[in-house]
């Protein structure tokens, strides 16, 4: 890549961001009447009110942490269930044939449609929030891990067949390492989904410590635009951070050897 195109790669997104903020100011200052300005407060008002006032920032960070914990616990549970399911599917075709339609069905169920059922069955506490996260983040882990486990070439399997290696040996020394890049892709997608699930669940399951979703809902009721935008920005950053964290983990674990398109 030339120096010029690399400079453009940095300059263009920044320019777009600046344009966005400028449009935000124009809309807030000139297009909205003062009585309706709470719908879109000025960017610097959001910055000062939500992030530079310690008391207000504290009111946001606590719930943000709660949402983070719920997202990560749910993601961890989904990872264990998803990887085990994918391994079982890779070991026996009939397991794959039996379970895969339900994995797809799980993906297609609108999570909001089963929220009342979850409330009905296990209540309004943390468990329900975690369950929502697990349900929403399970599918990408299963499909990506399964794809990875099945990605080994016939000749690589021949190497192990020559030595009459056991299924367990083939799984641990061939299939699982080969599946790692795809597994991390799945985890990265699911990490973003887990944050979404955690925030959505906040709207419905309000027992226990508030999450950032509940806080968003509260500020909406209070017509507190500055704090509402602050909370939304933090929630978005959480999603980005989750995505970035698993990207980093992936680079650390498979980066030293994985080259897409190389054989």
């Amino acid at each position: 890549m030339s120096t010029r195109s690399r400079t453009l790669q940095i300059v263009l997104p920044i320019a777009f961001g600046a344009l966005f903020v400028a449009l935000w100011y124009v809309t807030s200052a000139f297009l909205l009447s003062p009585s309706r300005r709470f719908i879109l407060p000025m960017p610097h008002e959001v910055l000062v009110d939500a992030f530079l006032t310690p008391k207000n920032l504290g009111a946001l960070l606590g719930p943000l942490w709660t949402s983070t914990v719920i997202a990560m616990v749910g993601l961890a549970i989904a990872a264990v269930i998803g990887i085990v399911t994918a391994v079982l599917m890779s070991q026996a075709k009939w397991v794959e044939v039996t379970l895969f339609p339900y994995a797809v069905a799980l993906q297609s169920v609108p999570i909001l449609a089963i929220v009342p059922l979850i409330a009905f069955a296990i209540g309004y506490g943390f468990e329900s929030r975690i369950l929502v996260v697990v349900l929403i983040s399970l599918f990408p882990i299963i499909t990506n891990t399964l794809f990875g486990l099945q990605s080994t070439s016939p000749q690589m399997r021949d190497l192990f067949t020559l030595k009459r290696a056991s299924r367990w040996t083939v799984l641990t020394k061939l299939q699982f390492p080969a599946a790692l890049p795809a597994l991390f892709t799945g985890l990265r997608i699911s990490a973003g989904m887990a944050v979404v699930g955690s925030i959505v669940a906040d709207f419905f399951f309000r027992k226990g410590d508030s999450g950032i979703g509940l806080v968003i809902d509260t500020y909406r009721n209070q017509l507190n635009g500055e704090m509402l935008y602050g909370a939304i920005i933090l929630a978005s950053l959480l999603g980005l951070a989750a995505f970035w964290l698993f990207g980093l983990l992936s680079r650390l674990v498979v980066g030293p050897w994985y080259r897409p398109n190389a054989r």
Binding site: Q155, K163, T169, P256, Y258
Partner: protein, 245 residues
């Protein structure tokens, strides 16, 4: 009559769907011979290697192999990309549950013999195609093979690298005198490498001719351009053409 290492006894192989890969192949390979299996694609030459290695079982007839110490080099290096060169070369020792000291000494020895000492910590993606094939060779050497199977090895490499690796394989054979089965579709390569060329025809796969190669152990580029070489290559070419006509 020297001791036989591999015996194919009227071996036939039909795949589901009706493709007949091999039809009544009889072939005996003596210990220490280097046999080139030459033929067009679809003549079942690779299938013979899979049978000899035990990866497949014939539909009828029998395959007898006198050893379990087998080396197998595929057309692709088929290295495990997450393993270093050293870990790749150690794979078979690991699968055989050899102890640490024995594994280390065999791996060092194999790496030295293919000229890869110093590259132990490299990953496959950091190596050229030729070096990856050397790793693949070293991986098989760790088996201390008495029978060495080559399935169109080096076919994906450029001409120069391929000739160098062929010379290296010949040098290994001259020193160790393993039994070699070398699949190729190149007549000059078959003549240059082998002590005997077995010509196969396709649909169904069968043996259509055998040629003893009269050159000794010392072969070099002059061998390739000698009149005797050309004469033998011509005879083999006629044999192949006769089968395809």
């Amino acid at each position: 009559m020297p001791e036989s290492q591999v015996v194919f006894d009227s071996v036939s192989m039909a795949f589901p769907g009706g493709t007949v890969a091999l039809d009544g192949v009889d072939l005996t390979v003596a210990r220490g011979e280097f046999v080139a299996l030459l033929g067009p694609s679809g003549c079942g030459k690779s299938t013979l290697l899979r049978l000899a290695s035990g990866l497949e079982t014939a539909t009828s007839g029998s395959t007898r192999v006198a050893t379990r110490q087998i080396g197998y080099v595929f057309q692709d290096a088929t290295l495990l990309p997450w393993r270093t060169v050293r870990q790749n070369v150690a794979l078979f020792a690991e699968l055989d549950h050899l102890d640490r000291a024995e594994t280390a000494s065999r791996v060092d020895d194999a790496l030295g013999r293919v000229g890869l000492a110093g590259f132990e910590k490299h990953r496959p993606h950091q190596l050229s195609g030729g070096m990856r094939m050397r790793v693949s060779l070293a991986r098989s050497l760790v088996n201390q093979p008495e029978l060495f199977l080559f399935d169109e090895p080096f076919g994906a490499l450029d001409e120069f690298t391929r000739e160098r690796l062929n010379d290296d394989v010949r040098a290994l054979w001259v020193r160790e005198r393993f039994t070699g089965l070398f699949v190729t579709h190149s007549i000059p390569e078959a003549v240059y490498m082998a002590t005997r060329v077995v010509v196969m025809g396709a649909r169904p796969g069968r043996v259509i001719g055998e040629f003893e190669v009269p050159f000794g152990d010392a072969r070099d580029e002059h061998t390739r351009y000698s009149p005797e070489f050309a004469e033998l290559a011509n005879a083999i070419s006629d044999c192949l053409k006769g089968a395809m006509a």
